[in-house]
C-alpha cells in the first residue's frame, strides 16, 4: 500500500476540526461579502448561501483528500468547497463574472467546479450528481485505483424526492461503492416544508431500504458533525460501502439572496436548530481547548483579508467578451465547421 491508501491519511482529530473551523470561518466571511455585493447590485446572477450549514459541509470537505477523492458539492457547500481546497478566487470569479477561472463566464455561481481535480461542476437538476460520483468511483475501481478513495455529495431534503437521488444511491449500493451522501435536512426546500416533501419519520430511515449504512447528526453541533461525518467517511474509505448521513439543521438565510425566507415560522428560527453552528463551533473549540480566542480572532482576520483579496482580484479581471468567445459545445475540432 502506498501512503495514500487506507484510512491512515485521515487528519488527526484536532487537525480535522481546526481545518473544518477555518473553512467555516472563511466561508461565512465570503458569503457575507457575497450577500452585500448582491445587495449592492454587483453580482452576476443569483447568490445562494450555506449559512447555518457550514459545520456539516466543512466536516465533509475536510474529511476528503484533494487529488484523490471525488467531491460533488451542492448549493450550500461553500464551507465544504473551501475545506476541500477550492481557491477563493474560483468563487469570486464565478459570482463577479470574471472571464478567468474554470467556468469562464459560461456558467456561474454554485455551478462552478474543477472536475479535473475531482471537484465536480454541478448542474441544477437536483439529485443528478449522485450517480455521477458513483460512476467516478466505479471507474476508479476498474482502474484499480479505488482502494482508500471515497466520493461524496450533499443534497437537501428536497432533493431526496428526485428519481435521480434514488437511482443513484441504489446503484451505488448495488455496486458497494465508497459513496458518502449527506442529506442536509434544513426543514425547507425553497419555501416547501418537509411535510410536503416526505412522510417518513426521519430520512435516515431510508438507509436500510437501500442497504447502506445510515447516520444521524445534529447539523448545528460542530463536534458531532466532525465525529459522525468524519467517521462515516472513514468507514467508506475502509470498505464499508455507501454511507447515508442525515443532518438536521436550518438554513439561516433565504433560499437565495433574493428571498427573505419570511415563510420560516419564528418558532422554528428560535428552536434548537435555529442556532448558528459557527457560534457552537467557537464555544466547543474554546471549551475543549482546541483553539484560543486569540487564534480564532486571527483566523477571522486572515479570512477577511483572503476574501477581500479574492474579491478585489476578481473585480479587476476582464469580463467575458462574446467576440473572443469560442462558440463550440463539442470538443472535437473537426466538427467546428458545422456551426459556422
Amino acid at each position: 500500500m502506498t501512503e495514500n491508501e487506507g484510512s491512515n491519511n485521515q487528519k488527526s482529530g484536532a487537525d480535522y476540526v481546526r481545518a473544518m473551523f477555518a473553512a467555516m470561518i472563511t466561508a461565512r466571511v465570503l458569503e457575507n461579502k457575497l450577500s452585500s455585493l448582491y445587495k449592492a447590485g454587483k453580482i452576476v446572477g443569483g447568490v445562494y448561501l450555506g449559512k447555518g450549514q457550514e459545520a456539516v459541509s466543512a466536516a465533509l470537505g475536510a474529511a476528503l483528500i484533494p487529488g484523490k477523492d471525488i467531491f460533488a458539492p451542492l448549493i450550500r457547500d461553500q464551507a465544504g468547497r473551501t475545506a476541500f481546497g477550492e481557491p477563493l478566487i474560483d468563487c469570486a470569479r464565478a459570482y463577479l463574472g470574471s472571464a478567468l477561472g474554470p467556468m469562464r463566464g459560461r456558467d456561474g455561481n454554485i455551478h462552478r467546479g474543477r472536475p479535473l481535480e475531482g471537484m465536480l461542476a454541478m448542474i441544477s437538476h437536483l439529485g443528478s450528481a449522485v450517480s455521477v460520483v458513483a460512476g467516478a468511483l466505479f471507474a476508479k475501481r476498474l482502474k484499480g485505483e479505488l482502494l482508500g478513495c471515497v466520493g461524496a455529495t450533499c443534497v437537501g431534503d428536497g432533493a431526496t424526492s428526485t428519481g435521480a437521488f434514488h437511482e443513484g444511491l441504489n446503484l451505488a449500493a448495488v455496486e458497494k461503492l465508497p459513496l458518502i451522501v449527506i442529506i442536509a435536512d434544513n426543514q425547507f426546500a425553497y419555501s416547501t416544508p418537509t411535510s410536503s416533501q416526505y412522510a417518513c419519520h426521519d430520512l435516515v430511515d431510508r438507509a436500510k431500504g437501500y442497504g447502506v449504512a445510515g447516520h444521524s447528526v445534529d447539523g448545528t453541533d460542530f463536534l458531532a458533525c466532525a465525529a459522525v461525518i468524519g467517521d462515516a467517511v472513514k468507514r467508506a474509505r475502509d470498505g464499508d460501502g455507501p454511507q447515508l448521513i442525515v443532518a438536521k439543521l436550518l438554513r439561516l438565510s433565504g433560499h437565495g439572496e433574493h428571498d427573505d425566507g419570511s415563510y420560516v415560522p419564528a418558532e422554528i428560527k428560535q428552536s434548537h436548530y435555529g442556532r448558528d453552528c459557527l457560534d457552537v463551533a467557537e464555544m466547543q473549540l474554546l471549551e475543549y481547548g482546541i483553539l484560543t480566542k486569540e487564534v480564532i480572532a486571527s483566523m477571522r482576520e486572515i479570512a477577511a483579508t483572503d476574501v477581500q483579496a479574492a474579491v478585489a482580484q476578481a473585480q479587476q479581471e476582464p469580463t467575458p467578451d462574446p467576440y473572443q468567445e469560442v462558440w463550440h459545445a463539442w470538443s472535437t475540432e473537426r466538427f467546428y465547421s458545422e456551426n459556422s
Binding site: N109, G127, E325
Partner: protein, 322 residues
C-alpha cells in the same frame, strides 16, 4: 393602470379556478409562497386545497396530473423552470401524449414551462424546450408573446382536451405590459400578423416577437423597409396558412427563434414554407436561432448567444439584398 404578462398568467389561473371546479394547480412552492415567479400569488388562500405544493419530483408531478386528468380533472402543473421538465419528459411524451391515440381517452393536462433566457440565468434556467415537445405526436405546444395571449391561451389550454405545453417566457414576465388582458380572441392554432409589411416576413414566436418588431422598426426608420412580423402563437399546431399568405405578399422569409439551432421551429417553418410556397419565394428563406452551445451564464455572452434586434437586422439586410 397596466398589467403584465405574469399578471395575465396569475389572473387566468384565478379565473380558471373560480369558473371550473375541475381545475387545480400543482407545483413546487406554488401554494403559500405563490411560486418562484409569483404566478400563483394569493391563489392558495383564495382556493384552499386546490393549489398544492409538490415535492421535487417532476416525473411524479406530471404522472399525478395525468392520473387526475383521467379522473376528469383539469390540472395545471407549474414546472419551476422549463429546464426541469426534462425530468418529466417521459411522462409527458410517452404517457400523456400517446394516451388518446392508444385508448381514445384524452389527457387534458396543462404544463406551464417558464421558458427562455434572462441575463445571468445560465445553462439550466434559460432553456426553450418547445422543439422537444412539439416533435412528439399528441401534444399541443403554445408560446404566447403578448399579455392578452398569455391570458387567453392559458384559459384555452386548460379547456383543450389534449395535453398542452404552455411555454411562458420569463423575460416577458414583468417587462411586458398592457392596458388589459383583453385580446383579439384568436384561438390556439392560429398565427397573428403582429406587424404588417411588404418587403420580408419574419416568422417567430414568444419573446422573439418583440425583438423582431424592434428590428423591423429600426429597418423602417433606417431604410424604409417594411417588415411583416408573424407571431406563430402556437408552434404545434403550426398555422402555416397564415405564414404562407404573408410570404405570398413579401416573397421573403426569415424564421426566427431563441432555441438551439438544430431542428426545431425555424427548421419546421422553413421546410413547410418551401414545400407549399416555393414559387412565392424571391430569396432563399433564412433562419436565425441561438448559437449551438448551452445558454451562457454571463449576461454579455448571453446577449450574443440569442438573436437581438441587431442580429435580426443583419439577417434581414442580407435577406433583402438577395
Amino acid at each position: 393602470m397596466s398589467v403584465t404578462y405574469i399578471d395575465a398568467i396569475r389572473e387566468a389561473q384565478e379565473h380558471l379556478l373560480r369558473d371550473d371546479p375541475r381545475v387545480f394547480l400543482y407545483g413546487q412552492d406554488i401554494a403559500a409562497f405563490g411560486g418562484a415567479f409569483k404566478a400563483t400569488k394569493g391563489l392558495s388562500e383564495m382556493f384552499p386545497g386546490r393549489v398544492i405544493d409538490a415535492p421535487i419530483s417532476e416525473d411524479a408531478m406530471a404522472g399525478m396530473a395525468i392520473g387526475a386528468a383521467l379522473e376528469g380533472m383539469r390540472p395545471i402543473v407549474e414546472m419551476q423552470f422549463a429546464d426541469f421538465s426534462s425530468i418529466a419528459f417521459n411522462q409527458i411524451v410517452n404517457h400523456a401524449a400517446t394516451h388518446f391515440y392508444r385508448t381514445g381517452m384524452p389527457v387534458p393536462i396543462t404544463m406551464r414551462l417558464p421558458s427562455g433566457g434572462t441575463a445571468g440565468s445560465g445553462p439550466f434556467h434559460s432553456q426553450s424546450m418547445e422543439t422537444i415537445y412539439a416533435h412528439y405526436p399528441g401534444v399541443v405546444v403554445v408560446t404566447p408573446a403578448t399579455v392578452a395571449d398569455a391570458y387567453s391561451m392559458l384559459i384555452e389550454s386548460v379547456k383543450l382536451d389534449d395535453p398542452v405545453i404552455y411555454c411562458e417566457h420569463k423575460f416577458l414576465y414583468r417587462w411586458l405590459k398592457a392596458q388589459s388582458f383583453k385580446g383579439d380572441g384568436l384561438p390556439i392554432g392560429q398565427a397573428r400578423i403582429t406587424r404588417m409589411g411588404r418587403h420580408a416576413t419574419v416568422v417567430t414566436y414568444s419573446a422573439m416577437v418583440h425583438e423582431a418588431v424592434r428590428a423591423a422598426e429600426r429597418l423602417q426608420q433606417e431604410s424604409g423597409w417594411e417588415i411583416e412580423v408573424v407571431d406563430l402563437r402556437s408552434v404545434k399546431p403550426l398555422d402555416i396558412d397564415t405564414v404562407l399568405a404573408s410570404v405570398a405578399r413579401t416573397g421573403r422569409l426569415l424564421a426566427l427563434g431563441e432555441a438551439f439551432p438544430w431542428g426545431g421551429v425555424t427548421a419546421e417553418v422553413v421546410a413547410r414554407v418551401v414545400a407549399d410556397g416555393f414559387h412565392l419565394l424571391e430569396a432563399p428563406p433564412m433562419r436565425l436561432n441561438a448559437r449551438d452551445t448551452p445558454v451562457p451564464y454571463h449576461p454579455k455572452l448571453w446577449a450574443a448567444h440569442r438573436p437581438t434586434p441587431e442580429s435580426i437586422c443583419d439577417s434581414l439586410r442580407k435577406l433583402l439584398s438577395y
